[in-house]
């Protein structure tokens, strides 16, 4: 049985296209200092640092923990770097949690970041490889056919993705850190934005952001003494499957289903829509909301889109299970940090510290991240109570 652990501090930078006022070190330090301040702690209170980001080619810095040691106060401490593709922000939080849940450390700092403006992610994802087909499509080109297959199977109306795009931007307008601030966005505006990868329109895709997110995770004894309410970690799970194999279900991947079942079991969740108060789920392209609603068991297969259209996932429509109250990946996407932002925003909700995007009375929330060809999954459930 794992030791109890909790999030006792959260820090983020604001998210924007280009943070040219700070170096990479300045960016991660800003999030880390914010997390330490939130936890009412100093660098000396940290036993180890766990850092995560997406591929090194996104900034052109190999194994950046080596260069970031000083910025993150690690001199003489253990430092670890996680990389699990797009799910990395979530995986990094889980690896950080395991430092405490294993009883090995009392209190650790975890940071995830991406400074996309330092390089070109589209290029970094498209380096030609020997022995494999060269896809010059970026992530949207990869996922568009999978979305089309979902639309065909579910017979969902064409504007579900448009609704998600509007809903998450309205959520983002409540979050001062969100990259896209579009308080007046309408479905018409989304629909009229140009088509990028059919059926994904420009406004149905995530932005490209700079930013970092950090959390302090502490053991039970220290979390009990924390200044602000802790977010207790109630379940942690990871799953992976190959990008391609005969008969692979790409619309509703088995790894996502297994990962959700595992984390729900640990947290005592039977019906996620009923038992959870909200969820921060990795939705980089609008249609992934209905697809993940089904994959994660919030709706029966083929019916996820109905929750979206009914407003069940919308704060503004008073939905019973708000998804991405922070605005989600559709409002801010510093790739390597995006998963950790989901995990941290779930924790903010159960700490009652989410400001204008607070889900009233939230006690139990899920953070979710996925990566690769929707093949790597990381999830956690956090609660206001120990369990």
């Amino acid at each position: 049985m794992a030791n109890l652990a909790a999030v006792v501090g959260i820090g983020q930078t604001s998210y924007t296209t280009k943070r040219d006022d700070v170096s990479i070190a300045g960016l991660v330090r800003e999030a880390a200092v914010n997390a330490l301040q939130d936890a009412d702690l100093t660098w000396d209170d940290i036993d180890a640092v766990i850092i995560g980001k997406a591929p090194d080619m996104f900034e052109g810095v190999i194994m950046p923990e080596i260069y970031l040691t000083d910025a993150l106060g690690c001199n003489g401490k253990p430092m670890m770097r996680v990389h699990t593709a797009g799910s990395v922000g979530g995986s990094t939080a889980l690896v950080a949690a395991s430092h405490v849940q294993s009883g090995t450390f009392k209190r650790v700092l975890t940071v995830a970041f991406e400074k996309q403006s330092e390089s070109n992610a589209m290029w970094a994802l498209s380096t030609p490889q020997p022995f494999s087909t060269h896809l010059n499509a970026g992530a949207g080109g990869y996922f568009a056919p999978i979305i089309r297959e979902y639309m065909r199977r579910s017979e969902a109306p064409y504007d579900v993705g448009i609704k998600v795009a509007m809903k998450d931007r309205l959520h983002g307008a409540r979050n001062p850190l969100a990259h896209l601030q579009k308080p007046d966005i309408t479905m018409k505006e989304v629909e009229e934005s140009f088509m990028l990868w059919d059926p994904i329109r420009f406004l149905e895709a995530c932005p490209s952001s700079d930013g970092a997110c950090a959390m302090v995770i502490a053991n039970e004894e220290l979390a009990d003494q924390a200044t602000k309410p802790p977010a207790w970690i109630r379940g942690v799970a990871m799953r992976s499957e190959p990008t391609m194999y005969a008969g692979r279900e790409e619309v509703n991947p088995q790894a996502g289903k297994d990962c959700a079942a595992d984390v729900y079991k640990q947290a005592g969740i039977v019906d996620p829509r009923r038992d959870l108060d909200c969820a921060e789920v990795y939705v980089p392209f609008s249609w992934y909301e209905p697809m993940w609603l089904e994959n994660l068991g919030f709706a029966p297969e083929g019916e996820g889109w109905k929750l979206t259209m009914e407003g069940a996932t919308s704060l503004d429509e008073g939905g019973d299970i708000p998804w991405n109250p922070s605005g989600g990946v559709l409002s801010s996407n510093p790739i390597g940090a995006s998963g950790m932002i989901r995990f941290a925003e779930a924790a903010r909700q159960v700490r009652g510290d989410a400001g204008a995007h607070q889900v009233e009375g939230a006690k139990l929330a899920m953070g979710h991240a996925y990566g690769g060809g929707a093949q790597f999954f990381a999830m956690w459930v956090v609660g206001a109570e120990k369990g």
């Binding site: 040691t69 000083d70 990389h83």
Partner: protein, 352 residues
């Protein structure tokens, strides 16, 4: 804390260029070998899998994703990855076992360094604003470290040559070694200077290959009925990236990690040190407080073959092999990352 056992280890032959062999083809043979040693069928028979690799070696973002194809991850598995040497993947796996979320784990590391110019590639792990634009390569930085050691009278060129000579001679008994032979210190000293004060023989070869290991709880090792050794301590520490702020003639982080791993709690029969450059073996030997009673780098170490992202895990595996063979009762393995030994991991392995 739960005792964790090593039950299987294998490394591929270190070769200068595996040619068209891809990641999956590098990994699969070592996986097959560790599965066979543990008496299991595939990655489905362990509770967790963790790997270490570096995208820049192959020149591909997400190079590790292909590694999953070697695992038979259908149905899906619990799997993670560090962009570090696989010794840190072992560390992550141990946390998973300690927290009770796994009883067993498969760890592997792989590197195909041949497609690029490794020392230049690694210059891009330096501070991207002040150092990386200078393209200072790893050999130049190591040469600077060696020069400081020589100038301060802490080592002699002969000491370095003796390290190389012992590596080449020990490697004759290591079928996976890339460089081996009856090389005397005089032979080394007779070589021309390469990047002064380093001779080519003071530097590691560039190698392609992979290694893999299976660890588990002691109970699981007993139920599998296979020989095992116990990891009695593991710790790692990093130091400042500002090389001007560090004493490059010492390794403070190695000493801290050794204390954390409990190295001083017993005799050390064997040590496998990840010292890519000859003088670094001396720095590490001193930081770890190793004396004449310790057999250092019986495999030849990484001067005999340097599998980037796997060599740290291999050091632990080499100590495991010595203990299982009955040549040693207790040993230390060391892994490193970053320029001039910036980040160091120390593992103590003991006879069960």
């Amino acid at each position: 804390m739960k005792d964790i056992a090593i039950v299987a280890y294998n490394q591929s032959k270190a070769v200068s260029d595996v040619g068209p062999c891809n990641e999956v083809e590098l990994i699969m043979p070592v996986l097959a070998e560790v599965f066979s040693q543990a008496g299991i069928n595939n990655a489905q028979d362990v509770d967790f899998v963790c790997s270490g690799s570096c995208d820049y070696l192959q020149g591909a973002a997400f190079a590790f994703v292909a590694g999953v194809d070697a695992l038979g991850a259908v149905p899906p598995i619990k799997e993670s990855h560090v962009e570090m040497d696989a010794a840190w993947a072992l560390y992550e796996s141990m946390l998973k076992i300690r927290m009770g979320h796994a009883d067993s784990a498969l760890i592997y590391g792989f590197g195909k360094s041949s497609p690029g110019e490794l020392p230049i590639v690694l210059s891009q792990q330096l501070d991207p604003y002040y150092l990386a634009p200078l393209w200072v390569d790893t050999i130049a930085l190591a040469a600077m470290q060696a020069r400081m050691l020589l100038d301060q009278g802490k080592i002699s060129e002969r000491d370095m040559a003796e390290v190389v000579s012992r590596s080449r001679r020990n490697a004759r008994n290591n079928p996976n070694a890339q460089l081996a032979g009856d090389v005397s210190p005089e032979d080394v000293l007779a070589q021309p200077s390469y990047v002064s004060p380093l001779r080519k023989a003071d530097c590691p070869p560039v190698s392609d290959g992979a290694s893999a290991m299976i660890i588990c709880t002691v109970e699981k090792a007993k139920s599998w009925g296979v020989p095992y050794a116990v990891i009695s301590g593991i710790d790692h520490r990093i130091e400042s990236h500002n090389m001007g702020m560090r004493d490059l003639t010492d390794s403070v982080s190695t000493r801290l990690a050794a204390e954390g791993a409990g190295l001083g709690d017993g005799p050390v029969d064997v040590a496998e040190l990840y010292a890519p450059f000859s003088h670094q073996e001396i720095v590490l030997t001193r930081a770890l407080g190793l004396g004449k009673e310790t057999n250092i780098n019986p495999s030849g170490g990484v001067l005999a073959g340097n599998l980037m992202m796997a060599s740290g895990l291999s050091r632990i595996g080499e100590v495991f092999n010595r203990i299982i063979a009955g040549d040693a009762g207790r040993g230390v393995a060391h892994a490193t990352s970053g320029p001039c030994l910036q980040h160091n991991l120390v593992t103590v392995v003991e006879k069960a």
